[in-house]
Every structure is written in structure tokens, then in C-alpha cells.
């Protein structure tokens, strides 16, 4: 090969490249890019969180106190866009970037430069999106779903559409990279059915991303041409239909929901076996359950639209298809519980978050089942019940899994143990206040409080005040997280061992802590007993 030709080139093999720009802006290293993704996601988490604080502050009491209604609507819209596309998704991609090559014994991602581009698009895309808040006319305020005709009234539409195009390009490239890495870069002997569940979940998630992000791009492009180029896709006067937008959007949107939860399933399936000191119960069933959920995600989209006036046959089809998802999801929940059953369990911070995930995500799943029933949904549609439902699956679901993963793998990244005490303080504060924050919203919704409003009937005052107090304290609890992270990365005196956790299995624990800049330059020899699922076929 070109071994001779490489000698005259600068070699970043044994150490960081020369300067800051070269290391972070020109990186082809999956660990550095993963770190960038995670820092970006954390930043966006706090920006999106500050929007949520504005929302909860305004809703603390009935009446308008702090902000104008239009600004309130900008906050609900931006909170969603920033949290979904800026915090949750990049956090999962960052975790995938860091861990997938380590878990399958690859030296790096399959397409390292494209990996760097996938990341660097994001800060620019969010600059474009967030800049609209400071423009004359303000940012988008029609909700993150951007339903026409409301969204077409906003002058910021072009900025939002192009920002979404950029995020879509980034996600598609990231997903292609992950698929190519998993299918092409595994060490010899790392069979598909020996891969960690986290890797499986990302393989399937990446497929979903490539399948639906272009559909979102198409939908928002139609919005753009309807507003600026005189097309009539969503204008009944011209033969179009606003409901068409909702169909296309939710064809993207429902798989998107699973894009934000399947990697979380993967994380929980890594964490629980480690701290239960037992292999995952029903490995193959877990993999097939993820695949089934992914398949079903393509045929349930209209359950977001029961109340727009679909033909009855469509309502009924989408209702039953949606309820079907409870089957593979139930398989997963039961298998997590069965994994813990009879295990020698310890409750370090990652495990605490994982156990909280199993319980609280299940609550979110059950409220989802309630929403799946067409006649019931007619009552719940666009109420705080929906808000409570998707925050249970996204905050105590996706976010708790990300936090669990961060505590779980942080010692491997930094080489230091975080403070277990402060980790637990963070956990107990989070888990208490998140329930104070979101549980009363179920009652508000059932009592009829609509979502996306800055003011409400005094009848809703008490639960809103409780919810807001929970919100402020949940938000403040995340500052503890920030503190634990900074301490755990830079200051902690306690060195992590290579294995880190007593019960941890898998290739990522065979490399030193902190993981060196380059790992598995030589494909590792796979010993099945080192893998979490090595003897699955035995």
C-alpha cells in the first residue's frame, strides 16, 4: 500500500494535532467529533431549557405576566425545535460516534471526514434558526410542526426551512456514516447478532433517519414554495389541502419520535445488564422488538391527526396499528425487568437513571396508548395531556437515557470517576422534580387545558403553579449535572479503571481509560466471553 508515501506527512497518530483549529475543526477522529456533538447537545439543552423556563414562568399564574403572547409562542416553537434537533438527536449521534467504533472494534467511523461535516453543519444551522429570534418580525411561532396556513404567515419561515434543510443534511450524513460503520467496519468475529443492543438500536435508527429526513425536507420545501413562489400545495382554493402537509410531516414525524427513543432503548439495554450483573434477557427478542417498532413507525403517522377529520376507516386503521406498537415495546420493558430479576444489583447513578427510565417511560407509554384510542383522543387532542405524554417519553425517556449513558461512559471518556454522591444528588432531584413538573399536566389536560397558550382559566391555576415549581427545580437540578460533568472531566482525583464497572462487558471496556486518541488500529481478536452477548447462539 502507500506506506512509504505516508512518512512525509504529519502524523497525528501519537498525540493531538498541532493547534486548536486543526484538532477540533478539521478532525477525522470519532472521539473528538463525538465530544463536539455531546458539548453541542449540552449547550442546546441549556438554551432549550431556558426557553422552557420562560414558558413555565409565564404559566406560573393565570393572566399575562412576563411576556407577550407572540413571544410565548416563539418560545414553545423554539423550545421544541432546539430540544429535538439540537439536544436529543445530536446527543445520541455523539454517543454513537464515541461508542459504536469502540463497541464493534473499529478504528474510527467509516467516513471520518463526512462525520466532521455532519457535526459542523449543526452549529451553523442553529445559528440560522436562533438568529430569527432577534430579527424584525421575530422567530417562528406556529409550533414546531409548522402547520400551514399559520406557519406561512411568519417572515422567519425561509430561515427556519433552510435551517431544517441543514439539520436534515447533517442527520442523513451522520446516519449513512453509522450504517457504513456498523456494516463495514466491525472487527472480524463481531457478528451482527453479537453486537451490543446499543449498536443494533443505532443501526435501525440510522435507517429511519435516512428514510424520513428527506421527507421532512420535501414537506418544508413545499411550505417554502407555497409562501414565496406561489404554489398551492396547502391551499384548498388551488386544489391543495392543509391536511396534506400534516400527512407528509407526520410520515416524517412519527419515525422521528422513534429516532429519539430507539437509541435510548439501546443505552438502557447496556446499562441494566452491567449493574444487574446478568446478560440481557432475551437478546434476540430485544433486537427484533426494535426492528418491529421501526417498521410499525411507518404506518401509524395519522394518529397525530385523528381530530382533523380523516375518513373513519383511516382513523380505525391508524388506531389499531398504533396500539400494536405496545406489543414490541412491552417485550422490551418486560425484558429489562427480567434482566434485573435475580441479578446482583447495585445502584450507581447510571443504573438509577436506567431504572427511572423503565418506570417513567412506561408511564409515558401508557398515556400514549390512551391517546391512541380515537374517541378518547378527540378529547385529549391538543391538551396538556399530550404535553405530559410526550414529555414523559422524551424527558424521562430519551433524556434520562442520555444522562444515564453519560454517567455510564464518562469514566471511559475522561479517565476519571465522577462524584457518585453528587451524581445521586442530581438523580434524586431530577426524578422528583420531573414528576412534580409533568405529572400534574396529565390532570390539566384531562380537565381541558389547551397546549400552546400563554394564559388560562383560573380553574387550572393550582396545578400550573405546582408544575412550574417542578419545572424551575428540575431546571436547576441540571446545573448539578453540569457541575458533576465539569468535576468528573477535569478535576476528579479518582482514576477510572479500564473496566470501570464491575459487571461491564463488551469491547469498549477492554481499552484503557481514558480511551486513547486512536483505538483498535489493529482489529481486536474477539473472545466471545468478553462480549455481553457473545454466546447468544450457544
Amino acid at each position: 500500500m502507500s506506506h512509504a508515501a505516508t512518512h512525509d506527512q504529519h502524523d497525528d497518530h501519537h498525540g493531538a494535532p498541532k493547534n486548536f483549529f486543526q484538532r477540533w475543526c478539521m478532525s477525522t477522529n470519532h472521539k473528538d467529533i463525538g465530544t463536539l456533538y455531546l458539548i453541542f447537545a449540552l449547550t442546546m439543552f441549556f438554551i432549550g431549557g431556558s426557553f422552557a423556563m420562560v414558558i413555565r414562568a409565564e404559566l406560573f399564574k393565570p393572566g399575562l405576566q412576563l411576556v407577550q403572547p407572540y413571544f410565548f409562542n416563539e418560545m414553545t416553537t423554539m423550545h421544541a425545535l432546539v430540544m429535538i434537533f439540537g439536544a436529543i438527536m445530536p446527543a445520541f449521534v455523539g454517543l454513537g460516534n464515541w461508542m459504536i467504533p469502540l463497541m464493534v472494534g473499529a478504528p474510527d467511523m467509516a467516513l471520518p471526514r463526512m462525520n466532521n461535516l455532519s457535526f459542523w453543519i449543526l452549529p451553523f444551522a442553529f445559528t440560522l434558526l436562533l438568529s430569527t429570534l432577534f430579527m424584525p418580525g421575530g422567530g417562528p411561532a406556529g409550533g414546531w410542526t409548522m402547520y400551514p396556513p399559520l406557519s406561512l404567515q411568519s417572515d422567519s419561515l425561509a430561515y427556519v426551512v433552510f435551517a431544517i434543510h441543514l439539520m436534515g443534511i447533517s442527520s442523513i450524513m451522520g446516519a449513512i456514516n453509522i450504517i457504513a460503520t456498523i456494516l463495514n467496519m466491525r472487527a472480524p468475529g463481531m457478528d451482527l447478532l453479537k453486537m451490543p443492543v446499543f449498536v443494533w438500536s443505532w443501526l435501525i435508527t440510522a435507517f429511519l433517519l435516512i428514510a424520513v429526513m428527506p421527507v421532512l425536507a420535501g414537506a418544508v420545501t413545499m411550505l417554502l414554495t407555497d409562501k414565496y413562489f406561489g404554489t398551492n400545495f396547502f391551499n384548498p382554493g388551488g386544489g391543495g389541502d392543509p391536511v396534506l402537509y400534516q400527512h407528509i410531516f407526520w410520515f416524517f414525524g412519527h419515525p422521528e419520535v422513534y429516532i429519539m427513543i430507539l437509541p435510548a432503548f439501546g443505552i438502557i439495554s447496556e446499562v441494566i445488564p452491567t449493574f444487574a450483573r446478568k446478560p440481557i434477557f432475551g437478546y434476540k427478542a430485544m433486537v427484533f422488538a426494535i426492528a418491529s417498532i421501526a417498521f410499525l413507525s411507518f404506518i401509524v403517522w395519522a394518529h397525530h391527526m385523528f381530530a382533523v377529520g380523516l375518513p373513519l376507516g383511516a382513523d380505525i386503521f391508524f388506531m389499531y396499528a398504533t396500539m400494536l406498537i405496545a406489543v414490541p415495546t412491552g417485550v422490551k420493558v418486560f425484558n429489562w425487568v427480567a434482566t434485573m430479576w435475580g441479578g446482583s444489583m447495585t445502584f450507581e447513578t447510571p443504573m438509577l437513571f436506567a431504572v427511572a427510565f423503565v418506570i417513567l417511560f412506561t408511564i409515558g407509554g401508557f398515556s400514549g396508548l390512551m391517546l391512541a384510542l380515537v374517541p378518547a383522543d378527540f378529547q385529549y387532542q391538543d391538551t396538556y395531556f399530550v404535553v405530559a405524554h410526550f414529555h414523559y417519553v422524551l424527558v424521562t425517556g430519551a433524556l434520562f437515557a442520555i444522562i444515564s449513558a453519560t454517567y455510564y461512559w464518562l469514566p471511559k471518556w475522561s479517565g476519571r470517576m465522577y462524584s457518585e454522591f453528587w451524581g445521586k444528588v442530581h438523580f434524586w432531584n431530577s426524578v422528583v422534580w420531573v414528576n412534580v413538573l409533568f405529572f400534574p399536566q396529565h390532570f390539566l389536560g384531562l380537565a381541558g387545558m389547551p397546549r400552546r397558550i400563554p394564559d388560562y382559566n383560573v380553574a387550572f391555576a393550582n396545578f400550573n403553579m405546582i408544575s412550574s415549581i417542578g419545572g424551575f427545580l428540575f431546571g436547576a437540578s441540571q446545573l448539578i449535572f453540569l457541575g458533576v460533568l465539569i468535576h468528573g472531566v477535569f478535576f476528579s482525583k479518582k482514576k477510572a479503571t479500564d473496566r470501570v464497572w464491575e459487571g461491564a462487558k463488551g469491547l469498549e471496556w477492554t481499552v484503557p481509560s481514558p480511551a486513547p486518541h486512536h483505538t483498535f488500529e489493529v482489529p481486536p481478536v474477539i473472545h466471545d466471553e468478553e462480549l455481553a452477548h457473545g454466546n447468544v447462539n450457544a
Binding site: 506527512q9 478539521m26 461535516l117 456514516n177 398551492n232 382554493g237 386544489g239 389541502d241 410520515f251
Partner: protein
């Protein structure tokens, strides 16, 4: 080959001789060295998008600075593609890319084309929904009785020239492009171009340079001819048929579907032309010509999309 900059070149990690399994497929792992092109790409993409958004929001009659920013961004995008591909081509010619990298590239291109299929899927889906549901419903069928009765009870829903622009007859009376004129010719052109590019591929594998250049050149010409006819069709639609972007959903679906396809044909033609010059420079060998194959796949993909368009937009 002269010594490239720090962004260029490849670091090949040699295989360890130990272990039986790993010698089966991994001759060496390849991790490319750092490159500034991805960062440049992010900057120029942002510049283009920001410029375009600003341009679209400019006051009527003005363009503001958005157009200038957009132009700068577009020039940057072109320069970025040129620079990034140049460094990749140099690395490829230096023999840095092994079988595993080749497979990664192939997977990347295949999944990219799949994403493009889904992008067109959104517009085809919109077309089917509009024709199957929204227009008939506006005409009072099935689910749309009340809308029809209260808003537009004189609207007789049908597709094409008699009602394809909706109950308000937006854009005024228009005529449609007949399928068996230019569109049929364009179908034949694209199908022939698929044949010529395949002949060129076979010639490449057999090592017949002259034949490659001839048939690949033909493919480029056929692509350019298609775009040219498509432009003629648009001009005729606007000036003779009064079929415009404003002609209700018929105009919306017609121009967005054929327009995005035309854009892809244009891009594909440019890519084929680049490959033609690369053949001229001797970049490809009988075994290693992924650049050629990737573009050929892309070309077949735009061909298939066109067949869908011909059937669902022009004929039916």
C-alpha cells in the same frame, strides 16, 4: 506525486500479523488525516442558505444583500466540491484506499441515493394525495361534501386542464403538456443515455479507452439535450399553455416534480462530464473506478424517477 498539504494524504495503519481471522478481510485499516474541507463545506452551506433566506425576505422590488451573500456562498460551494474531491482523487490515485474504504464509499452512495428516493417520495406522495383525495373531495366526493356545498358548489373536480388549478381556478385557464410530444422524446433520450452509460461501463471494464470516451461523451450530450428540451417545455408551458407555478396544485406538482428532477439531471450531467475528463486523465483502472460507478448509479436513479414522472405526471 508532489507532497500534498497537511489535509491531504493518508495514514495507513498496518495490519498486525497475529491472528488468523483478521487476515481474511482486513488488509489494513484506513483513517484519513485531518482536512479543512468539511469545515469549509459547513461555512459555505451556511452562507448559501443564509443568503437565500435573506433574499427571499427582501422587500418587494429589492434584493438586499441576500443575493450577494447567496452568490458568494454558491461560488464557495463549487470551490469546496472542487477542493474536497481533488484531495480525495489524489489520495485515491496514491493508492491509499483499500477494499474496506471502497465498500464504505459504495454504501455511502447507495444510502444517499435511497435518501433521494425518499425526497422524491414526498413529492410523489403529495401528487397522489392531491389526485386521489384533495381534489375529488373539493368536488364534493366522499369526505368533502360540506366543503363543496358551502364553499365551492360549482367546482367540478377533475385533474388536468379542467380543474387541476382548484375551485378558485388559480392562475387562470391553462392547457397541459401533451405526453406524446417532447416528454416522450425526453423519455427516449434518458433511456438511451442509460444504455450508453452502461456500454461505457463495460468498455471501462474491458479497458477500451476510446470507446469509454465516446459513449460517456454521448451520455453527457444526451443529458444536456434532455435539460435543453425540458427548458423548451417550460418556456412553452409559460408562454403558450399558460401553465405556470401559479396554476393551482396542477402547476405546483408539475413544476416541483419535473423541476427537482431536472435539477438532478443537470447535476448528473455535470457529474458525468467530470467523470469524462477524469477518464481522459486516466484516473480509472479496470478494477478501480468507483467514481464512475457512483455517477452511473446516480444516472440510473434519475432515469427511474423520470419513468415515474412520465407515467404519473404526463400520461395519467
Amino acid at each position: 506525486m508532489k507532497s500534498p498539504g497537511c489535509y491531504l494524504g493518508a495514514k495507513v495503519i498496518k495490519r498486525s500479523p497475529r491472528g488468523l481471522i483478521m487476515s481474511q478481510q482486513h488488509d489494513a485499516y484506513f483513517v484519513p488525516v485531518a482536512s479543512y474541507w468539511p469545515f469549509v463545506a459547513a461555512v459555505v452551506m451556511f452562507t448559501t442558505m443564509f443568503g437565500a433566506a435573506h433574499w427571499l425576505n427582501a422587500a418587494p422590488g429589492e434584493t438586499g444583500f441576500g443575493k450577494t451573500v447567496w452568490l458568494v456562498g454558491m461560488v464557495g460551494v463549487l470551490a469546496m466540491f472542487f477542493g474536497w474531491f481533488r484531495s480525495v482523487i489524489r489520495e485515491s490515485l496514491a493508492g491509499s484506499y483499500n477494499h474496506q474504504v471502497d465498500t464504505s464509499f459504495r454504501m455511502g452512495m447507495m444510502w444517499f441515493i435511497f435518501s433521494e428516493v425518499m425526497f422524491f417520495g414526498a413529492f410523489f406522495g403529495a401528487l397522489f394525495y392531491i389526485r386521489m383525495f384533495s381534489v375529488p373531495w373539493l368536488g364534493g366526493e366522499g369526505h368533502g361534501v360540506l366543503t363543496h356545498q358551502f364553499l365551492w358548489n360549482d367546482y367540478a373536480a377533475s385533474w388536468g386542464a379542467n380543474g387541476g388549478n382548484g375551485p378558485q381556478h388559480l392562475g387562470g385557464a391553462f392547457r397541459t403538456v401533451p405526453a406524446w410530444g417532447l416528454p416522450l422524446l425526453n423519455t427516449l433520450i434518458l433511456l438511451s443515455s442509460s444504455v450508453t452509460v452502461t456500454i461505457a461501463h463495460h468498455a471501462l471494464r474491458a479497458g477500451h479507452r476510446g470507446k469509454i470516451l465516446l459513449f460517456l461523451g454521448l451520455t453527457v450530450l444526451l443529458g444536456a439535450l434532455f435539460v435543453n428540451f425540458q427548458a423548451h417545455e417550460y418556456i412553452e408551458a409559460y408562454h403558450e399553455l399558460n401553465l405556470t407555478l401559479h396554476s393551482g396544485v396542477y402547476g405546483s406538482t408539475f413544476f416541483l416534480l419535473t423541476g427537482f428532477h431536472g435539477l438532478h439531471v443537470t447535476l448528473g450531467t455535470i457529474m458525468l462530464a467530470v467523470i469524462w475528463f477524469r477518464v481522459l486523465k486516466g484516473h480509472f483502472s479496470k478494477e478501480h473506478h468507483f467514481g464512475f460507478e457512483a455517477v452511473a448509479w446516480y444516472w440510473h436513479f434519475v432515469d427511474v424517477v423520470w419513468l415515474g414522472l412520465f407515467l404519473f405526471v404526463y400520461i395519467l
